[in-house]
Amino acid sequence: MRAQADDGLPAGPAAGEQTREVTLRVNGVGHRLRLPVRRLLSDALRHDLERTGTHVGCEHGVCGACTVLLEGRPVRSCLILAVSVDGQDITTVEGLAAPDGGLHPVQQAFRERHGLQCGFCTPGFLLTTVAFLRETPQPSEEQAREAISGNLCRCTGYQNILASVLRAAELSAGREEQA
């Protein structure tokens, strides 16, 4: 685990650059880092922690590819400074599957319903869907469409993403029944 101070920036911050020590709690594991204060959360996850599952499609808050869960709520990590989330819980796509590698029901549903092509937008859709289904476990098609209408995908035309969200609701319900 990379938990030592200073291990985040291979080359170190530039002279005169303001830095701060933070703990990024990603998928249940704390990472202590010294980061320039202007470092975006998306960059800190991707380049300092090398968790590259979180993608960056616009860096201006519109595409949703960088969506992660912050304290369980979906946020755009390209619009957040890493030093501002000190100690808060962050879930990225790497944290969705079970420790044994078993896919999360939302991942499983995207696979079954061909909800991805190039996969670049996918982590954002997955995390958006996870958060949505927690609040709305049995969504109507319209609710599901609404829920994913803040994320851009250039490949799928959304039809199979929508089907995946509805399938994920089914799978999650099934899993709860079993449990």
Binding site: G53, H60, V62, V93, C153, G157, Y158
Partner: protein
């Protein structure tokens, strides 16, 4: 065949990694690399008078700053003209970094290399470039007027001029009972993949070799371009397309300036950059420096008979190619040939002018000129139908090439330089399916119902033919390892089309192994060095057939070796789930893994398969261990090289509703009938259609590139470029036809681009039908439709002859004469 994967909606191999964050896209690589950033021109047209990097060089963490003056050897030459053409009489390509002049906003001028991206951008912001602005040529009217020139030595702005003709079009139109003229316009859009471009290059000083990762659609070509620019032997350069976050055409251009610059800098700065150099394009850069497409003006003159049959079709196209022509004139050539669609045009003449403007370059975007061609043809079909008072579907049907007429020679030269000959298709059957799917005949009743409820609805349709699977070739390599795993490689690249799945399906069937035992690699020159690339809906056709041919060779060899081992005739053997066995006597069997061991006379017992092989005595001791015409190993490679493209086709119909007050357009239904031959994986093909349709709807109703007169792109962000969300994209209803191609072993045709092609045409058709006046320009926004309504009310926009819902047959209409009608030039904004 044991597995029959071909045709099954198999779940994708790719998904396991892409769903878990384990994909590796360009910017996921090289965490310790230095970062490059570019200073780009803020002017559309200017001379560069001075570049001052003093302040930039003082930024902590800056490693190097390069301008054109620093480029050496072939790097100082213009970028290559990839596809020359005799008609492209004034080709111009850019320098990797601007040499004294910039020709569009976004053109790279200075490259900065620093410890990380933040610092590189800090430094780039401190570079001071002095410009002397020149008049900017923006838009086709400005380019045609030639009041100013983009390139001083091309004063008329005409890069290329091409005329293709079949028959005597003037005579045919003069003799036609009816003549119409249309002025049409289609605006710019762009591929806009979610992942922008990116390059990561690392020089290996120990080996004197270079490895380049790039988010490309053509890794073999980037490799060759980089090797040539850097003066390196090809074998010292590897190029790898990692996972790529969408392409849609823009990543087929090679090399992009950044690809050669980053590679060059990685070699030059090797001592300072042991981990290499990386550049990741940001969204603004993508808008202002990666290619656009679509922008055209068109003039159509058509002569036809009273059934709507085309007698002569004369089309002139003005095509905006942007500031440079690295990709030649492929797009307007495709427009002018694929315009014909499923029809016989009678005499045909198509002339195009490809024009320079001070805007981003134009290279193929999914559809590649076809959406514009289909727009021209389908607007014409609708105009003919309305003029004659005939059903729009009927007018199309009378012009179809019949299934019995296949193969059909259109008498033109296609984009690949070969004759435009349709190989197969049953257009009448496709239309029947479409009419049934959308309920074409029942629409009037629906319209009346809607009207009674105060709603305004319209229906439209559009047809296309798409040349797919263009040559010259692709290759495949198939290797059975002693573990029994089958490793497949092809040189072309993937951007989400599921090639790792589709090609594995094909190989699994051909070889008789389990799908999950087949692992496919694409776009890695270390694994396969010869390839053309992924464009023109060619990957499944070209690499699909190539890997099938290679797998057949492997199968043959496996049967031969197994036959020797089992003392059986190879023709009595079959391969089932990776085991070669005697037909009807399955106990007499040998696993392919063991056959793989036997194929190599050098057999150390490293694994179980090798141990197992010892029980088989193989070979004639009087012969050499490797026969003269043989090779060790259970592997083969082969190439597929067709004589011509294979032509897929399809037809779309939509029902739209236009808001009587706000002029907002809503697509109520979107129906697709698609014929791309036998489907390898229907789930993946339908996904391709969905995505294509979404881009078609986007291009018809939402997306455009808004340049001001100074050449500034005003909507260069996802805030302002309206890429649709799920809330805007309709559900697509699909029906398939599977007319096989006679041209290739698998009988398949390409499917990647189809969905997007008729988008603007079909939606224009439906809006026109809903509104009752002509639509000649796409995309169309609510405010434009609102304005058109006002113009129509004021008599400045012609209405349709049919009032919505009523059809009159001109043949029974009193006073109709078959004489030549006066040409109705019905465009309100005809170019002069």
């Amino acid at each position: 065949m044991s597995t029959a994967m071909f045709g099954a909606p198999v779940r994708r191999h790719e998904d396991a990694r892409l769903l878990t964050g384990a994909g590796r896209y360009l910017d996921d690589l090289g965490h310790r690399a230095l970062a490059a950033a570019f200073v780009r021109s803020p002017h559309a047209h200017a001379r560069v008078s001075d570049i001052d990097v003093t302040a930039a060089a003082e930024v902590d963490g800056v490693v190097a700053i390069f301008t054109y003056e620093d480029l050496t050897g072939r790097m100082a030459e213009p970028l290559p003209l990839l596809i020359p053409h005799p008609a492209l009489h004034a080709p111009r390509t850019a320098y990797p970094l601007a040499r004294g002049e910039v020709n569009h906003v976004g053109e790279p001028v200075v490259m900065v290399v620093a410890r990380d991206r933040y610092l590189a951008e800090d430094a780039a912001a401190r570079v001071v470039v002095s410009y002397d602005p020149l008049p900017a040529v923006v838009g086709l009217p400005a380019a045609r007027s030639a009041r100013h020139a983009v390139h001083p030595d091309v004063p008329d702005n005409v890069a290329a001029h091409l005329v293709q003709a079949v028959g005597e079009v003037d005579t045919a139109i003069a003799a036609a009972p009816h003549v119409l003229e249309l002025d049409l316009e289609i605006e710019r859009s762009a591929s806009t993949p979610l992942e922008g471009k990116g390059v990561y290059a690392r020089w290996n000083s120990d080996e004197g070799s270079l490895r380049v990762y790039t988010s490309t659609q053509a890794s073999t070509s980037v490799r060759a371009a980089v090797a040539a620019k850097l003066g390196l032997p090809l074998v010292k350069v590897d190029c790898i397309a990692p996972d790529v976050g969408g392409g849609f055409g823009v990543k087929i251009v090679h090399p992009w300036p950044e690809e050669v610059l980053v590679a060059w800098a990685a070699q030059r700065l090797a001592a300072l950059a042991p981990e290499g150099i990386k550049w990741t394009e940001d969204r603004w850069e993508h808008f202002v420096s990666s290619a656009h497409e679509r922008g055209q003006l068109q003039h159509v003159r058509v002569g036809f008979d009273s059934d709507g049959r085309l007698l002569g079709l004369d089309v002139t196209i003005w095509h905006d190619n942007g500031a440079y022509t690295p990709y030649g004139i492929i797009v307007p050539i495709i427009t002018s040939t694929q315009l014909l669609g499923p029809y016989k045009p009678g005499a045909y003449r198509c002339e195009f002018f490809s024009l320079y403007t001070n805007t981003v370059i134009v290279t193929p975007y999914r559809g590649a000129g076809r959406p514009q061609g289909v727009f021209a043809m389908e607007r014409t079909m609708d105009a003919i139908a309305d003029h004659l008072g005939l059903d729009r579907a009927e007018v199309r049907a009378v012009n179809f090439i019949a299934a019995e007429e296949m193969p059909y020679d259109q008498g033109l030269i296609f984009q690949d330089g070969r004759p435009l000959i349709y190989d197969s298709g049953d257009f009448a059957a496709t239309l029947d399916k479409l009419k049934a799917l959308v309920g074409w005949s029942d629409f009037q009743a629906y319209r009346e119902q809607a009207r009674a409820a105060g709603r305004r609805v319209g229906i439209g349709l559009a047809c296309y033919v798409e040349g797919t699977g263009v040559g010259p070739y692709e290759g495949g390599h198939v290797q059975v390892e002693t573990s029994g795993k089958v490793m497949v490689a092809t040189g072309l690249t993937s951007q989400g089309q599921g090639h790792q799945t589709v090609l594995a399906q094909i190989v699994a069937d051909e070889l008789g192994v389990d799908f999950d035992d087949v692992e496919v690699t694409t776009g890695d020159t270390r694994r396969f060095g010869y390839a053309v690339g992924t464009f023109a809906s060619r990957a499944a056709v070209m690499s699909g057939n190539a890997v099938a041919l290679a797998a057949r060779k492997v199968r043959q060899k496996a049967l031969r070796i197994a036959g020797e081992a089992l003392e059986a005739d190879p023709s009595d053997l079959e391969i089932v789930s990776g085991v070669v066995r005697v037909k009807g006597a399955p106990a007499s069997a040998i696993p392919l893994s063991t056959v793989a061991v036997l194929s190599n006379p050098l057999r150390y017992a490293f694994d179980e398969a090798a141990k197992a092989a010892t029980q088989f005595a193989v070979g004639d001791t009087s012969k050499p261990p490797v026969a003269e015409d043989d090779e060790p190993g259970l592997e083969a490679r082969d190439f597929y090289s067709p004589t011509q493209s294979t032509f897929a086709n399809g037809m779309h119909a939509v029902i739209v509703e236009t808001d009587p007050d706000t002029a907002e357009v809503r697509v109520l239904r979107y129906c697709v009938v698609h014929d791309c031959g036998p489907l390898i994986n229907p789930m993946i093909v339908e996904g391709q259609v969905h995505g294509g349709v979404a881009q078609g709807v986007a291009g018809a109703l939402y997306e455009r590139m808004v340049y001001d007169d100074a050449g500034q792109l005003l909507n260069a962000s996802f805030m302002d470029f309206l890429m649709p969300y799920a809330s805007e994209i309709p559900t697509v209803e699909i029906d398939h036809l599977e007319t096989p191609s006679p041209l290739n072993p698998l009988g398949i045709k390409g499917a990647g681009e189809a969905g997007v092609i008729p988008g603007s045409a079909v939606i224009a058709s439906a809006i026109e039908d809903a509104e009752g006046f002509v639509i000649r320009r796409m995309p169309i926004s609510p405010s434009e439709l609102f304005e058109l309504r006002a113009s129509y009310a004021a008599g400045r926009v012609p209405g349709l002859r049919r009032t919505s819902g009523e059809r009159t047959d001109p043949r029974t209409r009193p006073g109709h004469s078959p004489d030549n009608d006066s040409p109705d030039n019905d465009s309100p904004d005809k170019e002069t």
